[in-house]
């Protein structure tokens, strides 16, 4: 299999072969993070810029660690401490960064399509670390890797995705990815958080969490994104949690060996009850974070490991 991509912008445009190849490569990178000396010289002399226009702990740290473990130089730019606050446009920022000759630009932006714009403008590889409510491809890849590890496969599994589907780039990328890989996807959430054309993505839609998680192999809880909701689309957090929180009671409807995932950060007691989030017999949330570094190492390796 040849991996010829310049950028990783979304799961939508990746083929099943490409996804499998990325996951296989990531498997091999897991080992590096278990060594005493967690560093290999592969990307020595390469420069990776993390350009984050939105807050992030996990994704930014994960990309930075991934780059550093491959011996690349990583530079973090967050909007609050950059010339963005002086009014510089994304395009101008990108052109200036391009002039400093980095090899990869990782971007997170609140506007859907921002990474795609960058990919057209600059010659460097672009990795989408989340664009608005559009895609978050590295999250979907690490989710698929986590599922594969626990279930041995993805095809044929029943995966329930619960919460704010409309505003969730994690949900969108996972729906693209998991349906390509042959999973049966069920979504549930309040009607105000459900995209109107969601059925066209090949998923089953339910209104109640109980209907959705019945017999599920995997439950993916989404974060209620308070920062994206200018006008409230549900009456109160308490009402939301009464109807959609995953807890000891409703999880019994799922399969006994169900795994519970969450992209983080968790709103404890809102979308997931603390005892479920912290219960290692269900929760694989920290495992997801662990896989994230390997997936990002794989992508940085594949994008820079010999381009030009």
């Amino acid at each position: 299999m040849k991996f010829e991509r310049k950028d990783i912008l979304g799961i939508k445009e990746l083929s099943v072969d490409e996804i499998n190849f990325i996951l296989e490569t990531a498997e091999s990178f897991l080992e590096v993070s278990t060594r005493k000396i967690k560093k290999v010289p592969t990307l020595r002399g390469k420069t990776i810029i993390n350009l984050f226009y939105e807050a992030s702990t996990r994704t930014r740290t994960s990309f930075e660690i991934a780059g550093k473990r491959l011996s690349a130089d990583t530079i973090n730019i967050s909007s609050s401490t950059s010339s963005v606050v002086k009014g510089e446009t994304l395009i101008d920022t990108a052109r200036n960064l391009e002039a400093m000759n980095p090899d990869v630009i990782v971007i997170r932006h609140s506007a859907s399509g921002a990474p795609h714009l960058l990919a057209k403008l600059v010659k460097q590889s672009i990795i989408n670390a989340g664009d608005g409510a559009h895609e978050h491809p590295t999250q979907a890849l690490l989710d698929m890797m986590t599922i594969k590890e626990h279930k041995g496969k993805i095809a044929g599994l029943k995966v329930a995705i619960i919460g704010d589907i409309e505003h969730s780039r994690v949900a969108r990328s996972n729906i693209y990815g998991l349906s390509k890989m042959g999973a049966n996807i069920i979504v549930a959430g309040p009607a105000t958080m459900m995209p109107r054309d969601i059925e066209q993505m090949g998923v089953k839609v339910f209104n109640k969490i109980e209907e959705a998680i019945e017999g599920a192999d995997v439950i993916m809880m989404l974060r209620i994104q308070l920062e994206r909701q200018k006008q409230s689309i549900f009456p109160s957090l308490r009402e939301y949690s009464q109807r959609y929180c995953l807890n000891r009671n409703n999880i019994k409807l799922a399969r006994k060996d169900v795994i519970v995932m969450h992209p983080g950060p968790i709103n404890r007691g809102v979308e997931i009850s603390p005892d479920i989030a912290d219960d290692p017999s269900f929760s694989v949330i920290l495992n997801q974070v662990n896989k994230g570094v390997a997936v990002r190492m794989a992508l940085l390796y594949l994008l820079t490991g010999g381009s030009e």
Binding site: S28, V40, P41, L302, G305, G306
Partner: protein
């Protein structure tokens, strides 16, 4: 009897078999004894096979050495891709295999195993990788074929067969575990 008809019919290459199944077996048996002789037994010895050919050879050596000494010798697997010196220069993105060394290398005598010793660049990469895993007491090198043309000051401690070759020839080691047949062949472009 047709001997590998597909290869001879479909390629214009001149293929010469230089070692057969028995030849490989005898070489490995001798190398197993040599390793034990040089190190006065199996104490502190660990084998590390370089993906992919070296892994199978290391497994065979492990079995032979364990049979001779009635003990178990640890075996690790090393993928040197991340340590290659041509990774950013070339267009290839080599498929990455898993490295599996589940024991400490500190103060061990590490015997690196590979199928063909050629430029020496693979071994340079392998040694860099090993050092990242610990501080071996010693690193020794065992290869099935030494075909010459070194580009680095590296030599093997244990050699199955010296095979002087020209740069236009390719030396290929086929192993049952990988290609379904045990043989060493020289391919020459016509």
């Amino acid at each position: 009897m047709y001997h590998r008809p597909r290869l001879t019919l479909m390629s214009n290459k001149n293929i010469k078999t230089v070692m057969d199944k028995d030849g490989i077996e005898r070489c490995l048996t001798r190398v197993a004894y040599e390793i034990l002789e040089k190190n006065k037994g199996m104490e502190n010895i660990v084998l590390v096979g370089i993906r992919t050919g070296g892994v199978y050879l290391a497994q065979r050596l492990q079995k032979k050495m364990s049979d001779i000494e009635h003990g178990k010798i640890p075996l690790g697997i090393l993928d040197i891709t991340l340590y290659r010196d041509d990774i950013s220069a070339s267009n290839k993105k080599p498929r990455l295999g898993e490295t599996k060394i589940s024991f400490s290398l500190d103060d061990k005598i590490v015997v690196l195993v590979d199928d063909v010793l050629f430029t020496g660049r693979t071994i340079r990469a392998a040694m860099d990788a090993l050092i990242d895993f610990g501080r071996p007491k010693m690193i020794q090198l065992a290869v099935l074929i030494d075909r010459g043309h070194r580009e680095l000051p590296i030599r093997a401690d244990f050699v199955g067969k010296n095979l002087p070759s020209s740069l236009w020839e390719a030396v290929r080691v086929d192993l049952v575990e990988k290609n379904g047949v045990d043989e060493v062949v020289i391919e020459e472009g016509t």
